[in-house]
Amino acid sequence: MADLLTHGAAAVLVKAGTGWRYPAVFVAGTFAPDLASRVPAIGFGLIHVHWVSLPSWLTHGWQPLHQPFGLLVLAYVISMFFRVHDRVGVFLNLIGGMALHMFLDVLQDHHGVGYLLGFPFWEGHWELGAVGSEATVWVAVPLCILAAWVASKKQATCGASLEDC
């Protein structure tokens, strides 16, 4: 995974270039794969490695939330907590953010261990391997500054409007 600052900044920039409807939902969609899968997996993994042995499902079971099919279901569940007239827009923006996240992640190289993009229907793994797994560290801060500037411009133009502008 790329770092979440880079993911968030990239989401703001992509959203700014493709309309400004539900920008916060799009950014949340970009955060979702790591929040739902990596954070609990790393947290339980640290407990497992350093303190007490945990059942395997607690360290492995979150992985589908970093895969397209699991993310599709997750986006649906999250969207159902919003008001009816927002749900389709929320769902689509979550999916968009999640797709952007996966796109940035598959650019990375993990020495042959790619992402299970088709699980549970296809068990092969794939990644483009174009950049190192820490390559985004160097661009995270400049990208964030740029994203903050673009977001402030957009918010000033659009205000609280949910319409494209």
Partner: protein, 148 residues
């Protein structure tokens, strides 16, 4: 599909699908015929098998040529140079399995010195996200509302 009709049921079914996916994935990960876990279960037939541990953490340095790493498994012994290595460093180890002593003989080690920065940036992003959430989302009549 997105209406309020059977909303609770739809959410519950979706959560069950996610739970099922988690169970299927766990079974898939644990029953893979390759990897250190499989080698431990049947060492003789995995003699010389290729091993790859991407982004595992160094947990102990025994001597100049032996250390242990942990990821989804605890304390996997690795034979290889420990030069420049510290406990808690993140490394990718590429090597092969040796059945005699259940050790991974490293043929290549990739250090990831920027890993703490990456984790720090991610934590910072989560913190910023938590701070910003009330600005963009609220709660009214049992539903999430978007504020901007």
């Amino acid at each position: 599909m997105f209406s309020d009709r059977y909303r609770f049921l739809k959410i519950m079914v979706s959560l069950l699908i996610l739970l099922g996916l988690g169970a299927v994935y766990t079974d898939f990960a644990l029953s893979r015929p390759e990897g250190y876990r499989a080698a431990l279960a049947d060492p003789v037939n995995h003699e010389g098998a290729d091993m790859l541990f991407p982004l595992w953490q160094v947990t102990h340095i025994r001597d100049a040529n032996m250390y242990t790493i942990a990821g989804t498994l605890r304390d996997v012994p690795v034979q290889g140079s420990t030069e420049g290595l510290n406990v808690r460093d993140t490394v990718t180890v590429i090597g092969h399995f040796r059945a005699d002593d259940l050790v991974v003989v490293a043929t290549e080690r990739v250090d990831h010195p920027l890993r703490p920065w990456k984790a720090g940036f991610s934590l910072l992003a989560i913190l910023l996200g938590l701070i910003a959430t009330p600005r963009f989302f609220g709660w009214r009549e049992g539903r999430v509302v978007i504020r901007g």
